[in-house]
Symmetry: C2
Subunit: 337 residues, 2 copies
């Protein structure tokens, strides 16, 4: 019990001191003071060592995996990105972690500090936590409870034929970063600045919370999802829920300079990374044709770079890639963890 009590104590020390957390760690449950007349938005995601991340000792470079702090950033970002895709306001987070003996208390401390700092930088409070020991891999589950702005939210089911499809940033960079981390011998051929950028995109994803809320507030999105499994899969979910077909135009998919450089070294085209790479945590959304330019500009005012209009919504089902007059179905060709 000594070790578990110590771990719980370390996490308890990080629980936010904020009037909305009426009871934090130390009682049977947390008590929260929720704003009245709002819907609650709840999401829970689990990350498993060896599946969703590999650990590296320390934060040295070249990177061979996630540091303790990286795992904290990732656990926060995965959940906050779901909140972003709903246009919701994340408020409180609850951490559950199953810890193998081989992992030191200091590691969990650094992880939890990074998690709580990342959450707080997006206005979300660590409000509770629990640790148990495990004979298996490190398993982190974070549950985030948020609220809606004025009883509205973005969902996956509002895309209509004629809408255009938008994307908030470079896709495929996270997958390229993962490839660089996994194959250090090839990665050495990539310029260090490019390598660091792509690795950071994988290790330190940024949820697009401001954008999601702005799209909702301005009424500039008919549906929205976050890019977690690659657009071939994410947009297939969105198309299914909306009962529509989505056509992406190959020539309109934005390719970052860093991605192009890495693709040349690996002797591949960036397209696979872009469509099926996953974990970019950009937002993918639809907007009526006559609002798409405003919607793209709104993203620009927040992220410093206009959103790309990458495709359109049609009658039918599935996700297709269009190129040189031909359409190929790519539904669910996603990233498998």
């Amino acid at each position: 019990m000594g070790r578990e009590l110590e771990l719980i104590g370390r996490i308890a020390a990080l629980v936010s001191d904020h009037p909305s957390v009426v009871e934090g760690i130390g009682d049977d449950a947390a008590v929260l003071d929720a704003p009245p007349r709002q819907h609650l938005v709840v999401t829970a995601d689990t990350l498993v060592e060896g599946v969703h991340f590999e650990l590296q000792a320390g934060t040295g470079w070249p990177r061979t995996g996630h540091s303790a702090a990286d795992v904290g950033v990732k656990a926060a970002a995965v959940n906050l990105s779901d909140m972003a895709a709903m246009g919701a306001v994340p408020r409180w987070a609850f951490l559950s972690v199953a810890v193998p003996r081989r992992i030191e208390i200091e590691f969990i401390s650094r992880f939890a500090e990074s998690l709580s700092r990342t959450l707080e930088s997006y206005g979300c409070l660590l409000a509770g936590g629990d640790t148990v020991s495990s004979p298996g891999p490190l398993v982190v589950t974070l549950t985030v409870v948020g609220t809606t702005d004025g009883g509205k939210w973005l969902s996956r089911n509002g895309a209509r034929p004629g809408d255009l499809v938008l994307c908030s940033g470079w896709l495929g960079e996270s997958a390229a970063g993962l490839q660089l981390i996994r194959t250090p011998r090839l990665a050495r051929l990539v310029p260090p600045a490019v390598r660091r950028r792509l690795e950071a995109r994988h290790l330190r994803p940024e949820p697009r919370l401001m954008l999601g809320r702005a799209l909702l507030r301005e009424g500039l999105a008919t549906s929205c999802i976050d890019a977690s499994d690659g657009p071939a899969t994410d947009l297939a979910h969105l198309a299914q829920r909306s009962g529509v077909k989505i056509v992406l135009h190959r020539g309109r998919l934005p390719v970052s300079r860093a991605l192009a450089v890495a693709a040349r070294v690996f002797g591949s085209t960036p397209l696979e990374w872009i469509l099926s790479g996953g974990e970019d945590f950009e937002l993918l959304w639809t907007a009526p044709r006559d609002m798409a330019a405003r919607s793209a500009a709104l993203a620009g005012s927040i992220l410093g770079r206009k959103a790309a209009i990458i495709g359109e919504v049609a009658e039918g089902s599935g996700v297709f890639l269009s190129h040189a007059g031909r359409e190929v179905e790519i539904s669910f060709q996603g990233y498998e963890h």
Copy 2:
């Protein structure tokens, strides 16, 4: 992805169809319609295979571990018991499960069905869920979001010197049940009815939700905790938070007939199981001396058996066992998973 989509589909089919679950599984997050002007109460607990439960194939007898349905009951009960100890109303639950390859989809289906049925029998809706694959043991995290009745709740910090300590039922039976499951050769010497009763207390715990709410509503508890690690540990937490000392009277600890029979077979006294066994999920609470009889009777009207008055609160710190005029400290001598 086929297996994960199938698993998510099975769980999605169990998500409650209820007006308060505005969006269930299928979007980036669940959207809930919370009653206005109430505090939220949130708890999350993780169960790890090999630590908190052992699996047995099927539901045959003699039992060698938890069936799929038992794991569902336990995951629900552990969390609902926390809600009971707060006097809170559990409303929505979110399931995250990390599943090793060797576990069949049917197993997870039976587990999730049992979980959702148990939750619903206590008025709580399964409102979301997520499954990921894992190279390690089965790991189940359940987060329950509840509300308070009229802005009040039971906490661990209200015990005052002079209060009496009450307990809602037989302690130690769950630990004895676990012992029977682990040592089937000795267990064969225990009468089958006793064996089944003790095993059921371990495998199918019942959270005391009605009691917790009634104690809160009637103002008949100054503090409350659920018996999850054994009273030596649970009451040590309560004493610490309240800044008091708790003295348990050995002669007043209730010993069930089944526990006494099992203790004779194992050649031990029931005391160790009672004080340090854990996982009974009874409520332990304090009440002012002049209200203790009414508090005990209230439990009787709900559970069919009056609560036992097992000790008292004094100035000081720690948990002590008093017997024949001597006091021995037993703080934190709890069940280690």
